[in-house]
Symmetry: C2
Subunit: 176 residues, 2 copies
Amino acid sequence: MARAGGPEAVVLREATRSVGVVPNAAYRHFADRDELLAEVCAAAMNELAERMVAGIGRVRGKRGNPEAAQRRLAAIGAAYLEFAHQEPGLFATAFAVPQQHTYAAARTPLGLLRDALDELVEAGVLDPQRREGIEYPIWSIVHGTAVLTTQGPLRDDPQVRRIEALTSAFIGNGLT
Amino acid sequence: MARAGGPEAVVLREATRSVGVVPNAAYRHFADRDELLAEVCAAAMNELAERMVAGIGRVRGKRGNPEAAQRRLAAIGAAYLEFAHQEPGLFATAFAVPQQHTYAAARTPLGLLRDALDELVEAGVLDPQRREGIEYPIWSIVHGTAVLTTQGPLRDDPQVRRIEALTSAFIGNGLT
DNA sequence: CCGATTTAGTGGACAGTGTCCACATTACGT
DNA sequence: ACGTAATGTGGACACTGTCCACTAAATCGG
């Protein structure tokens, strides 16, 4: 349901219906509809993270190799944006955690980004002094691009590819 | 209602109730709840734009002055982030237009950003070649920061100020 | 000025939703 | 084997968006 219609589409009664059970049965597993939604959000976030590690896995080259490190960073960004476009419902759901009990999963997008940036430092591509805290602007720019082009005013913009290329270039500019 | 609880909180029946009228009366003014929401979204977006022009208005210095131009760009970014934090409900609503009939208002955030960047070129601060399309990465990074720190996983993060300073530095880096 | 037409509001209804309560069933460990 | 915990059921309530037929008020052309 989240995949098809985003967070609003995950409706408790329909979920129980699809599983062949009466609505109230859900309350033996979740206190709230919000708790159910939180679980779905965690699953969506997990799928995003998995796509990112899959993207990393597709670039070959030893850890510490400068070009490989750069390509790995590009790969996680590309996977992030690709996920947002291929699964807009799940992407929106991943970041629609109700209140605040987001007990982070093992492999989180931010963690993967940090790993990639650390490798970039290790490979001598990124100045260690510039490394500090740079994950936040980079995450922001990728996330902002994803949100604006899938849910925001730039959604269905014909030149999405160009916009993404521009953000990629901007990031590359900010690293050197 | 949007101000207090975001887009989900704008509920048709309560709106009519607060205006002292029966629910169905709303259907003489809006075809849908979505059409009502679209109107609210437009109003929210307008308030965001107004805050941005107010921010521009507070920096003095003639158009074309390099330092003034830079401060004006910083001002619209700061206004954007400040609005997101002071009015999280309205900010979320501004970007929650139902489907896609967002007949853009006169002064839109993107338009204001473009003006500021054009002035930066005019003042000789920004290389005209680098100007082309740079509004998208910049909008993305500011929007991404706003979203992540007000609705996303970084919401209520104690070091929001630092994160915003980092994105500001990253943008400055990308302009020179 | 008056009658017709548009505009705005009313009342009642329906399906769908989240949630609560008391009750029945099933599974399981000692 | 039995008591306890886990799970599912049935019925209800308040709330939501939306539809229909009907009424009151405002507006406007002759």
